[in-house]
């Protein structure tokens, strides 16, 4: 069974600058990010709207920034994982690394 600690190994992935894990009510489950409450609200609204549009067909969302510190939001069961990537990392390579990490947790259930 997957624990919160398993998911939080996300911080060990190369290129992760900041992260936040939000549940379906918008509560912050874990984070290493500035202004977590505001970011949690943002992640929740984005996740709800994206779900309304794509349902389970949504893989992830990328917000590109001038600073190149792009924000990626991944649906993870009843949670949403927001990640700010390092500016030197390529979006696609970074996203596939995170997806690979999340897929490795697929066979287990989230606590």
């Amino acid at each position: 069974m997957v624990t919160l600690q398993d998911i939080l190994q996300i911080r060990d992935i190369q290129g992760v600058d900041e992260y936040i894990l939000v549940n379906h009510k918008g509560q912050v489950m874990a984070h290493d990010i500035e202004q977590p409450e505001q970011v949690a609200k943002m992640v929740l609204v984005c996740a709800q709207n994206s779900w309304a549009i794509a349902k389970t067909r949504l893989k992830y969302t990328i917000f590109s920034r001038k600073s190149k510190k792009d924000i990626l939001i991944f649906p993870v069961g009843n949670f949403n994982l927001g990640v700010v990537k390092h500016q030197t990392m390529n979006d696609m390579i970074f996203a596939s690394k995170v997806i690979q990490f999340l897929n490795n947790l697929l066979n287990k259930k989230i606590d």
Binding site: V45, C46, N49, I53, A54, R57, T61, S64, I71
Partner: protein, 166 residues
């Protein structure tokens, strides 16, 4: 003055003297199409430019289509063919505008949002606080191919706005 061909969207440099009675008349240097259209108000003119660019982007391989959504006026431009109804576009536009707006409140330097959805990757750019341009692509390769044309479109809009301000 830079003007754009109504037929092919090509950029043409036109002497101001050729603009008379608020009409622009010129032969396109790229496709030889004879343009003859009225000078429009700033907003109409920008929208017309977006329409030309978006039509070109929407006709690229593996691009399903695109549209422009306004917070109050709803769908301003639609190149989604018959795939989605007007109600679908309004629903999509509203949700996507809300997404990019809330993210820009938190991170001011957001330039673009992409939703990676199976066979329906959705690229969103904010034209201003009320308007977004949305392009839907079948493949990731198509998504990457429209970044530059979208950059040009946004740059052209900004230049146009700056010119109008004087």
């Amino acid at each position: 003055m830079i003007v754009f061909c109504e037929d092919c969207g090509g950029k043409n440099s036109l002497p101001t003297a050729k603009i008379e009675n608020r009409r622009i008349v010129f032969q396109c240097s790229s496709c030889a199409y004879r343009n003859n259209y009225a000078l429009e108000s700033s907003d109409k003119s920008i929208l017309n430019q977006i329409r030309i660019n978006l039509k070109q982007i929407s006709s690229r391989p593996d691009v399903i289509g695109g549209f422009v959504y306004h917070r109050n006026k709803e769908v301003l431009i639609d190149f989604m063919s018959d795939l989605l109804t007007r109600d679908d576009l309004i629903f999509l536009g509203k949700k996507l505008l809300e997404n990019i707006s809330i993210c820009q409140e938190q991170y001011r330097d957001i330039e673009q949002m992409v939703l990676f959805i199976s066979n329906r990757h959705t690229v969103v750019r904010a034209l201003d606080t009320n308007r977004i341009i949305v392009v839907i692509c079948q493949t990731i390769k198509a998504v990457q191919s429209i970044f530059m044309p979208l950059d040009s479109l946004i740059t052209n809009c900004s230049m146009h706005k700056r010119k109008e301000r004087g």
